[in-house]
Amino acid sequence: MNPIETFMHAVWIAENDLRQSFKSVRHVVWSLLFPLFMMFTFSFRYGSTGGIDVDFLTFLIPGIVGMTAMFGSINETMSIVWDKSLGVFDRILVAPVSSISIVLGKTIAGAVMGVLSAVVLLIVGSILFSVAWANIGLIFLVVLLASFSFTGIGTIISGLASEPREAMMLSNLLRFPMMFLGGVFFSIDVMPMPLPYIARALPLTYATEGLRAVQAGMMSTVFFDALVLFAYTVGTILVGSQILMKIMTR
């Protein structure tokens, strides 16, 4: 099968996946409503001089955007465990489609969902909280890399879980601690030992740090965070695709 055909199959599989996700309440709740809720709840913080703490908002909103990419991507990869339990992989594999297309399709779908969810929060952040995004190209790059690495993590969870409830449980077990340790709501510098070390092992930390660095114009930090996220992407997607391949071509 030629590479173009393999890629086109992946695109159609991703398109088909996303088409279903847009109709699903679970997706809307986890990918958008939950991050929006967190954004509004934490924005009610008053500064020392009274009124809304603007400094905190400039800290919070990029963090929420990174977190949204995480929720969107991991949530999308939950479709893998549903497909597994409903026999959808079998259905696709009966067609002249290679398993690489399926893995690629699922990865594209996860990353697209992460980016799209983050974009909604970017827009909401700039309209309602007047956040001025410094360099939209770099913001997009960090969000994209973060989405890919979260997709890789989600693929591993979904591939290992034996049924949907188990996958949801595992993903929440990972998402919630990551949300609080990944520097979304407070800087990892203020965390007690040994939490900063744990935070440094999480991709969300690099996503939030990278997005804030773009806003602050600290290019070397952006570069470093992007590199770490890229390494995460390669690592998790390699492991995730190995697990998926094993499920499909046993």
């Binding site: 159609w12 002249p96 034996s162």
Partner: protein
């Protein structure tokens, strides 16, 4: 006649479970071939290996002249699979489902539209084509699953339990569709655990049990093989423990085999009707009450019993459960 599917010494192990054991058969071009066996006999596993969805432990499968292990994509282009469980996307409409699979089979936009319109019409689904598949009835699901398998006009149609779980009317419709597709020149390989279906529908049937192909012949020939043997079916009144009668009746002179089939005792014998009084007397003496007794002509079921020593209807559920449990425990399903 050419062979559409050739299976040679096909074997599949799931850990220590031998699901398919050196199975060998050939499906001729343009015939309807049936694999008959109880649930858990290895039919679905065999089908999955033929379609290239499962790698055999050993053995070869050649479909339309292509070795499945060497040229899986060539094989996939030429077959249409109707799986035992309808696995289409419930959150999407029938049309969107068919669009997606049409794309995967490489049909261009115009061909896709033409083929989708055709199969939706053929299976009387055109009016509901924009409804979500999850709201479909079981029969509509089945028809759509067959429609999806026919989209790319495969020369070989492989159907796993095509009428399983359907009401009588829909099952009849599906059987008519299968016959029509065969008349159009398509080869059909189907699996079934229903004797009637094999008897009425297929040109040749292979009986499979415990992963082994026991025999392969036309239904007529299989019935001829048990010629001279007739079956006596007895239904007892209020008897919870039918199993206890099996060894008792087996001892009656002239009785060849006794099995349980759907709450009835089925007795095979060459000495019918002469041995009836002895059986009736034994049942009365042991405190049993006969509700109904009938003598039947040999059926494919009796061929199955004389070959395997049991009824196909007797233990289907427990065997299916055991295979499913084994597979899910080993993380394979």
């Amino acid at each position: 006649m050419d062979s559409a599917i050739r299976v040679e010494e096909l074997t599949k192990n799931f850990g220590s479970l031998l699901a398919v054991d050196h199975v060998k058969f050939e499906v001729k071009s343009k015939e309807i071939f049936g694999l008959l066996g109880p649930n858990g006999a290895g039919k679905t596993t065999t089908i999955r290996m033929i379609c290239g969805m499962l790698t055999p432990t050993s053995g070869t499968v050649v479909v339309a002249g292509f070795d499945v292990s060497q040229k899986p994509q060539e094989v996939k282009r030429r077959i249409g699979l109707v799986p035992d469980i309808s696995n289409l996307f419930g959150e999407l409409s029938a049309r969107v489902n068919l669009e997606f699979f049409g794309k995967l089979y490489g049909l261009n936009r115009a061909t896709r539209k033409e083929r989708i319109d055709y199969v939706l019409g053929l299976f009387q689904l055109r009016e509901r084509q924009h409804n979500l598949v999850k709201f479909y009835s079981k029969g509509m699901h089945r028809r759509l699953t067959i429609a999806a398998a026919l989209l790319h006009q495969p020369e070989i149609l492989i159907m796993d339990e095509p009428t399983s779980g359907l009401d009588a009317q829909t099952a009849r419709l599906v059987r008519e569709i299968i016959r029509d597709l065969n008349k159009e020149g398509r080869t059909v390989l189907l699996t079934t655990h229903q004797i009637d279906e094999a008897d009425r529908l297929v040109d040749r049937v292979g009986i499979i049990d415990h992963g082994k192909l026991i025999t392969l012949d036309t239904p007529e020939q299989l019935k001829n093989n048990v010629q001279g043997v007739r079956a006596l079916e007895i239904r007892l009144l209020n008897d919870a423990d039918l199993q206890r009668w099996v060894p008792l009746i087996s001892k009656v002179e002239g009785v060849d085999q006794v099995v349980l089939a759907e709450g009835r005792l089925r007795i095979l014998s060459k000495a019918l009707p002469e041995m009836i009084p002895a059986v009736v007397e034994l049942i009365a003496k042991q405190g049993g009450q006969i509700e109904n007794i009938s003598v039947l002509q040999p059926s494919l079921e009796d061929a199955f019993i004389s070959l395997t020593g049991k009824s196909i209807r007797e233990e289907s559920l427990s065997k299916e459960d055991s295979l499913h449990n084994r597979l899910s425990r080993s993380g394979l399903r």
